[in-house]
């Protein structure tokens, strides 16, 4: 029996009935990681010893007849921008390469309280800025369906780990599609909960009005299982919603109500791979067979979403990332070399006047900040800090940031109006399947435009889920995007659950090449 091929809900049942133990389950997944991690590269930290300790503790408690949590014995991986006291939290950035947080994020405390087996930290684009996980300062993660392609991003490690069967559950973060897009490209199920549904205390901030933590897993049922543990009010996060957490797993298995869905037809035309469009149209038929009415709709403001998003997200990022100063924590440049360089610049400035150096030498403290940040951040992070600083700077603030904030309201209002007519929206998550490693790395704008279908949900703060619904001619997974009003997680996951009862896309597994050497 290949335990690593089971879903989290199936494993939970077996564990609950005592047919298998948590240690046995953990060992099966650890073996899988050891086997395929060299090819896939999903993890930045992998800690089998600590995982097995937690599993043994769960088994002991079960043997003694003590109560255990809903995730008892299930291995979970955590994206490396979520703070853990056990392991470094690097955000895949050189500037946090050695950062060991002094506290656990609230979601990590909740996972521990739910008796999850935490196995390690997954790779991502640096500071969650990117859509391919190529922008990690440490390693490239490969798509398990085709190792020459990206897994998507920024939660690329989280999605690849689930797709490769290395963990049944993982936790990511989504600022503009960073859970849904890699879930789509790796053929797994991923949810961006409503803004406020899950506490962000201990999530390293990228864009605070957009960031949200959420679950990735094989099935909607597994996502619901994990969401029940992650969601809930947290006094440590002032933006977390003080609202009851519904029993998602139970609710999603109820028969579908009589509802109408809106098909985003503008996302099936120009610029969208015909195989992707075809897979979405097939998905519409599945819903029609389930008795769901589907009507074509258009979101006219959606064409503005990418521009609006990249002004707002970079503005917030430029402010949030000001904290990396080489003083409080993280990387600091070589001070001695910095002082020498500065002395040399000052000497030239004094001797030959302003024309000898491009700008007046900084005071030492300012230069420490600038050199630390120049050396610690990667190119994309710098680009976004620059764009955001520009958009917020005197003379440009109104034209860029303020105007984008107004357009953001237009986008939200259009969603609100649309949700008067339809209960949820369906469309593709991405315009194409996974692209090749290196394909878009030289073209930041092309990378941004790949987010066209996902950023709207973050701007509006609504719930959205990605589920596997087909394959392209190259055999790459296609993701179906379901978006609903704030706190519509039960409906979205219910639609996903019934879709997955009728289809088997979520059950398909990539064929990973046999490793050259036996497991270490």
């Amino acid at each position: 029996m290949d335990l690593a091929s089971l879903t989290a809900s199936e494993l939970a049942q077996w564990l609950c009935r005592g047919e298998i133990g948590a240690e046995e389950v953990t060992r099966a997944f650890v073996a899988r990681v050891k086997q395929y991690e060299p090819a896939v590269g999903a993890f930045l930290t992998f800690d089998p010893e600590k995982a097995l300790e937690q599993a043994a503790e769960v088994d002991r408690r079960r043997r003694e007849g003590k109560p255990v949590g809903p995730l008892a014995g299930l291995p979970v991986a955590i994206k490396d921008n979520i703070c853990t006291t056990d392991w470094k939290t690097t955000c895949a950035s050189k500037i946090l390469a050695n950062f060991r947080p002094p506290f656990d994020a609230t979601v990590v405390c909740r996972l521990r309280a739910g008796d999850a087996v935490l196995v390690g930290k997954t790779n991502m684009d640096e500071f969650a800025m990117g859509g391919s996980t190529e922008l990690s300062a440490f390693k490239v993660t490969r798509n398990p369906w085709d190792l020459s392609r990206v897994p998507g991003g920024s939660s690329g490690g989280a999605a690849a780990a689930v797709a490769a069967g290395m963990v049944p559950l993982s936790v990511g973060s989504d600022t503009g599609g960073s859970i849904r897009q890699p879930a789509a490209l790796c053929g797994v199920t991923g949810l961006k909960p409503t803004y406020g549904r899950v506490s962000r205390f201990g999530l390293v901030a990228f864009a605070s009005s957009l960031d949200q933590i959420g679950p990735l897993a094989r099935t909607a049922e597994d996502v619901a299982l994990l969401l029940e543990v992650l969601a809930g009010h947290d006094p440590l996060d002032a933006t977390s919603a003080n609202r009851e957490v519904p029993p998602y797993r139970e609710l999603i298995q109820q028969p579908l109500p009589t509802i109408r869905l809106g098909l985003l037809v503008d996302q099936l035309g120009e610029g969208v791979d015909t195989d992707v469009a075809q897979a979405i149209r097939e998905a519409v038929k599945v819903f029609a067979n389930l008795g769901v009415e589907v009507k074509e709709v258009r979101l006219l403001h959606h064409r503005l979403a990418v521009a609006c998003y990249y002004i707002i997200a970079t503005s917030e990022a430029s402010s949030n990332l000001a904290r990396y100063d080489g003083v409080h924590y993280g990387y600091r440049c070589d001070e001695h070399r910095m002082e020498e360089q500065l002395a040399e610049e000052r000497r030239r400035w004094a001797e030959k006047g302003p024309s000898s150096v491009a700008e007046e030498p900084d005071p030492p403290m300012v230069r420490l900040y600038r050199k630390t940040r120049a050396e610690g951040f990667g190119a994309e992070v710098k680009r976004r800090i620059m764009l955001g600083t520009y958009a917020l700077s005197a003379g440009y603030y109104e034209a860029y940031y303020l105007h984008a904030a107004k357009v953001r309201r237009l986008i939200r209002e259009e969603y609100d109006r649309t949700f008067q007519e339809v209960s949820a929206l369906i469309g593709p998550v991405t315009p194409t399947g996974a692209f090749a490693i290196g394909e878009k790395i030289q073209d930041p704008l092309a990378m941004y435009l790949f987010d066209a279908f996902t950023v709207g949900a973050n701007l509006a703060g609504i719930a959205a889920v990605s589920i596997p619904c087909g394959q392209t001619r190259e055999g790459l997974p296609v993701g179906l995007h379901l978006q609903g009003p704030p706190f519509a997680e039960p409906l979205l996951l219910q639609l996903a659950y019934w879709f997955q009862r009728e289809t088997d896309w979520h059950r398909r597994r990539p064929t990973l090449p046999a490793p050259d050497k036996p497991a270490l």
Binding site: S318, E359, M365
Partner: protein, 97 residues
Amino acid sequence: MAITPEEVRKVAYLARLLLSEDEIAEMAAQLSRILEYMEILRGVDASHVEPMAHPLELTNVFREDRVAPSLPREEALKNAPKHDGECYLVPAVLGPA
């Protein structure tokens, strides 16, 4: 909307980044291209729309003002690149003597 190398230099200073001359040239070209794409927003009349800074539009969240344990100094300094056990250490703040 083109952004000049001079503007890039100024923004890099505001952002506390240090860019080489090559990076400045590359950044000017890339940002210009991105800002040109942002022009898509220009055609939208949003003059009468209230800006939306946040999806929740909270006014304020209060809590009791109670003394509670906080991070011990040792823990707070643990990740600092340079400290003396009590304070963070930094270069001279007031510029060259």
